[in-house]
Symmetry: C2
Subunit: 229 residues, 2 copies
């Protein structure tokens, strides 16, 4: 999280904010938003969670909205940026869908509280044009990959690429309702099952690709044994 314009401003003015507490504040804000919802969380709640007076919070932010944006911007931009990079590659659509799914699950896993707040408080609520634009770009990029697969004949089960794309996004984002990092289900296992399910459904029988063993990870991750049913 590098989104602390107010903090930078205070520093330029020679005020004495405590930058070391910024991470602590947004972690507390994220946890409070996720647990109680944005509307039901007060700045007093957040101040109290980090042992501050509410007034001291105003050294860091102007409003509760500032905290929400600070909380959600990181993972939202990361998910979008990874999909932008992936879209620019020449990988086959099947591989792009697999990597996009893994990347989405990995970012949710690594930023679980923050991403949950984004999905519960912002996505689909059209709060600000900036977020709507990010949501729309993500959807359009993923839909373009699905359309590539339809055009190339790889994906034959798709009658409506937008609906198919929204089905995938829905499965991924709904993770915030049931997944818990560190639980018995590993993020990679979930991503693999989602990929198998979606790709198995998207791919024609004839061109059905082999499963995960063909995949090289987008980032360095340790290889894992493939479970069989």
């Amino acid at each position: 999280m590098k989104h602390n314009a107010r903090l930078r401003l205070e520093n330029e003015r020679g005020a004495m904010p405590r930058p070391s507490r910024w991470n602590e504040i947004i972690e507390a804000a994220a946890e409070a938003f996720r647990t109680n919802g944005f509307a039901a969380t007060s700045l007093e709640d957040i101040a109290s969670a980090v042992g501050m007076w509410k007034g001291s919070l105003y050294h860091y932010i102007n409003s509760k909205e500032d905290l929400l944006f600070a909380v959600v911007r990181g993972p939202a931009e990361e998910i979008l940026n990874q999909l932008r990079e992936l879209s620019d590659t020449d990988l086959p659509p099947t591989e792009k869908i697999r990597r996009a799914t893994r990347s989405h699950v990995q970012i949710l896993n690594s930023n679980f509280v923050y991403a949950s707040v984004y999905l519960q408080e912002i996505a689909g609520r059209r709060k600000l044009p900036e977020w709507t634009a990010m949501d729309r770009e993500y959807l359009n990029l993923l839909e373009s990959i699905v359309r590539e697969g339809v055009d190339s004949g790889e994906f034959s089960a798709v009658t409506n690429p937008r609906v198919a794309t929204l089905a995938l996004i829905g499965s991924l984002n709904w993770l915030t309702h049931w997944y818990r990092p560190g639980g018995s289900l590993h993020a990679d296992e979930i991503a693999d099952q989602f990929c198998d399910l979606f790709l198995g459904g998207l791919i024609t029988r004839k061109t059905k690709a082999p499963r995960s063993q063909t995949i090289t990870p987008i980032k360095t991750t340790k290889p894992r044994a493939r479970r069989t049913a």
Copy 2:
């Protein structure tokens, strides 16, 4: 919506509530909860939306929670009951998944505002044991169908039936973030695309079932032409 214990109580006491306004009140409550969230909606907002004083609302309810439960109980119970009935049939797992998907989409479509409030305010938030039990029963019933398909060899792409089930539920519930009744996408079309996507993914190549034309609807609905890609 038949959940107005307070109203019944008032009637028994000989008070003079206006039962004709009950539907109007819960419609206004549902709309307010969906638009602004439960926490950010006040009883004054709801009273004002139906042109009442807040005090008059207490002829109908004891608290804002009463309104939330009244709003969400109907579609929540309907979705669960339809899945219970379906689970008790001898239909093949493929057909059960197809019918469950259609039923879920149809109920979301017919009760959109109410179902959205349930999914955004209650599902996964563990508000009350009653709702948690309903969520868990729905998940377990659908997972049992997936397991039936795995055991019978119909569904071969499933390494983890629970994750596969949650992927389907996620796609369905995420509809509340993007679908709008009366928009350009028909509920049946969405249900069909979801089914094709999920079943195509679940079914082995060898036993891959023919698509929608084999399906008889669970309730009387007008037949519709099948789109082809």
